[in-house]
Subunit: 297 residues, 2 copies
């Protein structure tokens, strides 16, 4: 495994690996670093599906709001390099902010509709920053496939929309959420949690699991009931401060109307949460597949 910091070096190394063998495919795993098992699962999925695996580690300033945690976002380069190598990365790209933005970007990519609810509503401009940096990474790496975790389900939907609309020749591969044994979805931001917050944060995965069961056994049926069920469960944790609880069609992310039957939709349905514990905002979700549809994520 090789670590590179400039765009020219990266393009050069990819070219070298490609020409060392014929018809090598390239897989990209874009991350903000502070790698955990969720990231490792993406790298392993990339290794399985493509020949050359590139992991990018870049805390992208333009996807953070002014009051958000860009400065304090956890970073640990040495640990990340070891984790990436162990999971099977061939190249790790660690650009500086100056490498990615030698001048402030005048170009922004904006996706409408898919970005209007959920995290897009709470974090204005966030997804413009995500799509812009992902497009840059696609143009730098020119991957055949790119791997994203379903914990950020809206991010997956937004990037798939961008790829579709702009004809990027990249296969977007969504990968399942990886959880701690007790159910907490892995996130680099979990490190911010105090022991008590960490304990109470289990309410996210538990409420999603219980809502799914309640839908499946007919105890609740509509989107309004599902949201009320989730909200009530989360509020049992006194430290939980709800940002949103939403039930929406996936990947369009149009919210279901209150009275709509969740399990009788034609396509997949996402139950998604964002909840703050102290100063830490966590997200989690559960994707419900309509009966008979092949699970693709």
């Amino acid at each position: 495994m090789k670590a590179v910091r400039t765009i020219a070096e990266l393009r050069n190394e990819i070219q070298n690996l490609k020409s060392s063998n014929e018809k090598k495919t390239v897989g990209l795993v874009p991350t903000m670093g502070y790698l955990h098992e969720g990231h490792a699962s993406l790298i392993r999925a990339a290794k399985e599906k493509t020949d050359i695996v590139v992991v990018s580690i870049f805390v992208n300033p333009i996807q953070f709001g002014p009051a958000e945690d860009f400065e304090t976002y956890p970073r640990d380069e040495q640990r990340d390099l070891a984790a990436a190598e162990k999971a099977g990365a061939d190249l790790v790209f660690l650009p500086s902010v100056e490498t990615m933005y030698p001048k402030a970007t005048k170009t922004k990519i904006a996706v409408s509709e898919v970005t209007s609810g959920l995290c897009g509503a709470s974090r204005p401009g966030h997804f413009d920053g995500v799509t812009t940096v992902v497009a840059k990474l696609f143009n730098i790496v020119q991957p055949d496939a790119a791997f994203f975790g379903m914990k950020d389900a809206q991010q997956v939907a937004v990037i798939q929309q961008m790829v579709y609309d702009l004809n990027f020749n990249v296969n977007i591969v969504p990968c399942p959420i990886i959880r701690e044994e007790d159910g907490l979805a892995l996130s680099s931001r979990n490190v911010y949690l105090s022991p008590e917050e960490r304990k109470q944060a289990l309410v996210l995965s538990r409420s999603l699991r219980e809502a799914k069961e309640a839908l499946e056994n007919g105890q609740i049926r509509t989107a309004g009931e599902a949201k009320a069920f989730l909200t009530a469960k989360i509020m049992e944790s006194p430290l939980a401060d709800i940002d949103y609880v939403e039930v929406a069609a996936f990947p369009a992310l149009t919210p279901l109307a209150e009275g709509e039957n969740v399990l009788e939709q034609n396509g997949a349905v996402l139950m998604a949460l964002a909840v703050k514990f102290g100063r830490t905002r966590l997200i989690d979700n559960s994707l419900l597949h309509p009966k008979g549809e092949l699970r693709h994520v």
Copy 2:
């Protein structure tokens, strides 16, 4: 030469041409068709610099305003195919609107600052439509170089900015304006002009030529004087209806202040005009290079 209409066919044909010989470079000439000598000069430049020349012909609806001429924009596919072949194109891509936009695009690429003046001010949303479709074409064709005429100088600047900001691996090659013998810059829209409008439209190239001479011989010096000179000359034509007369740094396109000396700038300076004759809006420009700078366009 081969004409193709679908994205899959085009990618396939490019791949075939590439694999028929080693290390073939691809040149893209994006056009809206109704090809004239200006387009032919771009195709010839592409043929000179790259191995495989792809000409796209697509009247892009999203770069036209609601009151503009999308419906009436001149089209002549048979003549275009003959002209592209004669100039040396290997592939002509003629997608339908449904091929380029199977659904209305939710993704837009917007470049700020460079788009705020000149045609960007007169045609709101125009350049978002241009950058979005050019990014799509870059992703479909994956060219090594793309060729644009300097008649649309702002378009060249905007696309260069997008390529820089989004790290497209494409060399943007600006090519000189091609003119009729009497000086009129070639444009597909010249066909709209009545004989009298056609005659009076010569004032555009003449006023730019005379302003350049007046600057060079010291008769005028400042940006304000240059604009006044151009405006007065144009208004000698009774059918001319000025949209804008501007003197701006190139490629940043920040307007020079009234009192600034035009020829003593550190970088290139663009004198640019948009003038309507009847219902036809024509543009023209002249690029002034600072003393000692190598001409690159």
